[in-house]
């Protein structure tokens, strides 16, 4: 086993151990924080497929995070108010069932990613960063000014959605759901990286001409990566909305996109567990620094700067060595 594998195992176990300890010690808020880490890490795992493996610097992944959130919010709000989602051409009811919500979140995010990706991937470099940002902003302003689902106020769901056989209101059980989904996504992501698609996508990041000359279209590879990436981030959005029992347009904001990206870089770009390490550190800092000073953003900024300038490869890169991948 390489050093990185050990670090990954330690992270996976650590993320499990902390809430278990908190459960025993009756510290439910610590469990909530661990759940938040797991969900944000899941969003990061999604973005990492586009960003780390595919080299697609998307500053618009908040779009999928928000769509996932609104999939949950809209479905649950209709179920909560006993109003059907639509009545024509067929009656569709809302739902409070997590698996159904997840499925809808994933499908909606994937379809949107297909559309945004198909248009955005015509560009590259800075243009790609900015066009993805533009699509994110469109959805953000749409969500704010669209009155049907609360506009800027967002939607409050009074009771967390259900999962068959579990009591999702119990923090530890909800954590378990998120943790399992995170581990599944990590396993999927690891398998994807070793698959033919992963090899080709990774090569397309390094040398698109090469991939073309062996008869594979980089555009299609990237589009599929973008769709998978968006779908996973959308799933995370649905969970995040369920964690807060609330969804609002701030999930669509460009700062959200920036933060998801921050997790990845903090943890280590293209590292399997990078988003996990990054999200954990981010939440820890938010709690630790936020208590110390009103101006904790200054400290966060300095730390981020230090990581980018001096600790390339993020936490995992620094601990596991092997140099940063972009050299």
């Amino acid at each position: 086993m390489t050093r990185e594998t050990w670090i990954n195992a330690a992270l996976a176990l650590g993320l499990l151990a902390v809430p278990l300890w908190a459960w025993v010690a009756d510290e439910p808020f610590t469990i909530t924080l661990a759940t938040k880490v797991a969900i944000l890490a899941l969003a990061g795992v999604g973005l990492n497929i586009a960003l780390g493996l595919g080299g697609l610097v998307s500053l618009g992944h908040a779009a999928f995070f928000g769509l996932g959130g609104y999939a949950m919010g809209i479905l649950a709000a209709h179920a909560q108010n006993y109003t059907p989602l639509m009545e024509w051409p067929l009656v569709v009811e809302g739902t409070k069932s997590m698996p159904v919500i997840w499925l809808v979140a994933v499908i909606v995010s994937a379809l949107t990613a297909l559309l945004i990706g198909a248009l955005s991937l015509r560009t590259s470099g800075v243009y790609f960063i900015m066009i993805t940002l533009a699509f994110g902003q469109m959805l953000y302003y749409f969500a704010i000014s669209w009155p049907a689902y609360g506009g800027e106020d967002g939607l409050s769901i009074y009771v967390r959605n259900g999962f068959p056989g579990l009591n999702t209101l119990d923090p530890i059980q909800f954590f378990a759901i998120c943790y399992v989904l995170l581990i599944l996504a990590l396993a999927f992501s690891a398998r994807l990286a070793r698959s033919p698609f992963g090899l080709a996508l990774n090569a397309a990041r390094q040398s698109p001409q090469r991939v073309e000359t062996v008869g594979i279209s980089p555009y299609r590879l990237r589009l599929l990566a973008f769709v998978i990436s968006g779908a996973i981030t959308g799933l995370a959005g649905a969970l995040f909305a369920d964690l807060n029992r609330f969804v609002s347009p701030s999930m669509f904001s460009w700062q959200t996109s920036g933060e998801i990206m921050v997790f990845i870089i903090l943890g280590g770009t293209a590292r399997l567990f990078g988003p996990v390490a990054g999200a954990a550190l981010f939440i820890f800092l938010e709690q630790a620094l936020g208590g110390l000073s009103e101006y904790w953003h200054v400290h966060l900024g300095l730390l981020l700067l230090a990581v980018v300038l001096f600790a390339r490869g993020g936490i995992i890169g620094t601990l596991a060595g092997q140099g940063a991948r972009n050299d």
Binding site: A134, S145, H297, V298, G301
Partner: protein, 320 residues
Amino acid sequence: MALPGKPLGEQNKLMTTILLIEQVLNGLQFGVMLFLTAAGLTLVFGVMGLINLAHGSLFMVGAFAAAAVAGATGSFILALAASLAAAAAAGALVEMLVIRRLYSRDHLDQVLATFALILIFSEGTRWLFGSFPLYLNIPTWLSGPVTLPGGIQYPLYRLTIIAIGLVIAGGLFLLISRTRLGIRIRAGESDREMIAALGVDISKLYTIVFALGAALAGLAGALVGAIQSVQVGMGEPVLILAFVVIVIGGIGLVKGALIGSILVGLTDTLGRILLPEVFKLFLDPSTATSIGASLATMSIYILMAAVLVVKPTGLFGAKA
């Protein structure tokens, strides 16, 4: 519930030509202001290949410096000078401490490091100046409206902004096409090694270009600060708009930034005014106002996405 008053349809007044001209002037003024911010951003990208998200913070630094100096001295001219100086100094400092380590990095590292700079600048400014907006106003000799030919009442200050912006745009074109600094900037855009071979101190050149861009952003901040609110976070919306502008025009091109600015300024201003009117043609006025306003908030992003889908490197960008 039934609302008192007559239906809104009756207020759907005829858009007179005068109103339309005034709105075009407004769009132009907004565009010129955007140009001042976008010019620095696009220069820095063109010459150094750097994406600087912290450019909006320099805009804010200019506005705060102007407000502080105007408060202390009462002079608007001194305040503008201070905005230039403070933003240039902040820009040069940041370039030397942080930015120059980023030139060789990929866009991702640049985005992140400059995102971190935003956090530092914003909270640092709040720490220095507090959470309440500062006061900066139009000097009396520039305040109030003037009457233009055709009877249009238009604020003198906004006309001044248009004039200053156009003068600076002209100066920038001259600087780039006629001066030694400009030659070096153009050389730096095309070939960094060549310019180093010419014996130009490239790191000094980069600092100067960065400070120049910062100074322009700072000036824009001060000019706009007098008619808007000088507060922490004022830079970010402008930053996003400036990016939209340079991406539409083609990144790295001052000409692209100018055309992009005017286009965005006009789209935004006219979209806000015209879209609700357009929807009123086939929807009831209240819904039309709401839908039109919603669409107007998205209009520049729709414009940008449309431009990029058709021309993936912007209107004037070379093929990648």
